[in-house]
Amino acid sequence: MTTFAKSLRWLHVNLFAKPFDTGLTLIVLPLLAWVLWGFLDWAIMLADWSVVLSSIKVLMTGLFPVEKLWLVWIALCLIAGLTGLASSTTMPFGRNALLAALALVALSLIAAAWFDTISAQTALVVASFFAVWAAGSRSETLRANLTGIAFGVLITVLLVLSPAGPSTWGGLLLSIVLTLTAALLTIPLGVLLAFGRQSRIASLRALCTGYIEVMRSVPLILVVYCIWVAFPLVAPQFPLPDVVRGLIGFTLFYSAYAAEFIRSGLQSVAKGQTEAAESLGLSDMDTKRIVILPQALRVAVPGLVGNILDIFNYAPLVFIIGLTDFLRAGQMILANPENSGRTYEIYVFLFLVYFAVGSVITFQARRLERKLAQGARK
């Protein structure tokens, strides 16, 4: 079949199979084309993107001191490396990836030469993503220790950023740090809560069940606010910065959801698995850790990834405790009368970045799900 015939066939099957499909296609396609045309027309002819370039530092890092920005670059390289390692567990680094790596590094170097606000460090971040991806594809040891490395990277990132003072963290940086921290901490906490909810000890069971149910029946914003207000009252001797209190709020709230996803995973593991492990004489702890939990997490992965995406998308709520995340940073720039006419540019930029990060998370998640499904064939 020629390519042309194939395309005709594709069109027929997907767009014009039945009269109803045809009707829908004839309405939807022109509408889409019109919207896209309008958008491109505006984006290229009318919009003035210089506002994004001139305020990129605030959008990305908030009030982070300019002379310490190199700390942010180190943190970004670490996070990019971690993402690369995560990629290597689901996709081996191949020739296409190498080409993409070279192209992207070159592109960011060119962009750095063109716009002075995009520095050459961007190329370094991109390069560390691909370098660790390639290294991870080669080394079984690196991949096997992903969890440990992830926590190591998290702690290092927080330490690297701390000299600037957490109160200066903002913009996309804050959203990412918040997501990374909460996402990593909610999983072990969720595991503990889920096991606690099934414990033989009634008081522990009641405590965990109560915690999960309470967290799931109140709004996130309330939990974040309450923790922020209550912490200095409960522990005045530990003055924690707002960012840390916000992190605690997010982590405590989303742990309850993580626990529920993990619990449904635990319930999906057949009873025979526990019996087989016990028959071998494995301790309770080993049975849970080696036999039950890995199988439960497999089932819980889609839910847990949804959780991570939720954390990222709800991060703007930290404005209630006075923090400036990515969305808030955009609004702050618009509050400057100088930029008053540039509302659309800023919001379109925010939209695109949120969409890009969200897509990366869901894309990785889908690869992970597919890979886990392969090993689990019964």
Binding site: R200, I201, A270, G272, Q273, E275, A276, A277, E278, S279, L280, G281, L282, S283, D284, D286, I290, V291, P294, Q295, R298, G375, A376, R377, K378
Partner: protein, 257 residues
């Protein structure tokens, strides 16, 4: 082999078990000698599985006494507060093979077999793997070691499950209908492995509906009827000349096809 010859490895005295108010096992008395192959038969729902699951503590019992290998199995009220130490001591010496295999699907065949020896017996990985390869060789699955259970046939999975139990070097093996979930053409390969074990002198308690096999390998057959052991005989006597009316009815039902 009779009870007077070998020393008993399992001693069950006046054992009673309830599921809530349902009396599943009633005044069970049973001894299994070292090296003996005991086959348990009975109608569906009579309590065969419950009986052998009591022997490795997967089920609790409410009264009476159950001793395995010199350890007394804790009763239900003693187990209310989680793990009991004696229980794990018994379990590591008792192998269990299930109808549904219950292999760990996320671990390779080799890892399934080495898990117990490494985590429970404290063997080194190398030592455990060498032993596992030997056992897999014995059940005819040496070349499947790196596959995952999901990639094996039912008969192969059950043979891995047997190898996994044997890796703990048990003194007693329990089998709960090991061939009932298998396609007919795979039953033979599993029974062959069990036959081999019997020949080597492994002590076994086997629940099975394979009457020909039962007659061939067993030293003794017991019949369980509504939670009671109603007949205990040598295999020839059991199959040729059953004493109990209900045993006769059961045998005529299962031997017909």
């Amino acid at each position: 082999m009779t009870e007077s010859q070998g020393q008993a490895i399992v001693r069950i005295k006046d054992l009673n078990k309830f599921y809530g108010s349902f009396h599943v096992l009633k005044d069970v008395d049973l001894e299994v000698a070292r090296g003996e192959v005991l086959v348990v038969v009975g109608a569906s729902g009579s309590g065969k599985s419950t009986l052998i699951r009591c022997v490795n503590g997967l089920e609790e019992y409410q009264s009476g006494n159950l001793e395995v290998d010199g350890f007394r199995m804790p009763r239900a009220e003693e187990r209310e507060f989680g793990e009991v130490k004696g229980l794990r001591d018994i379990r590591r010496g008792v192998g269990m093979v299930f109808q549904q295999f219950n292999l760990f699907p996320h671990l390779s065949v080799l890892h399934n077999v080495t898990l117990g020896p490494i985590r429970v017996r404290g063997k080194s990985r190398d030592e455990a793997e060498a032993q596992a390869m030997q056992l897999l060789d014995r059940v005819g699955l040496r070349d499947q070691a790196l596959k995952y259970p999901g990639a094996l046939s039912g008969g192969q999975q059950q043979r891995v499950a047997i190898a996994r139990s044997l890796a703990m070097e048990p003194h007693l093996m329990l089998f709960d209908e090991p061939t009932s979930a298998l396609d007919p053409e795979m039953v033979g390969e599993v029974l062959d492995v069990m036959r081999e074990l019997a020949r080597e002198g492994m002590t076994m308690m086997i629940v099975t509906h394979e009457m020909g096999f039962a007659r061939e390998v067993s030293d003794r057959v017991i019949y369980v009827d509504q939670g009671r052991i109603t007949e205990t005989s040598k295999p020839d006597a059991f199959f040729d000349n059953p004493q109990n009316e209900r045993t006769r009815a059961f045998l005529s039902r299962v031997l017909k096809h």
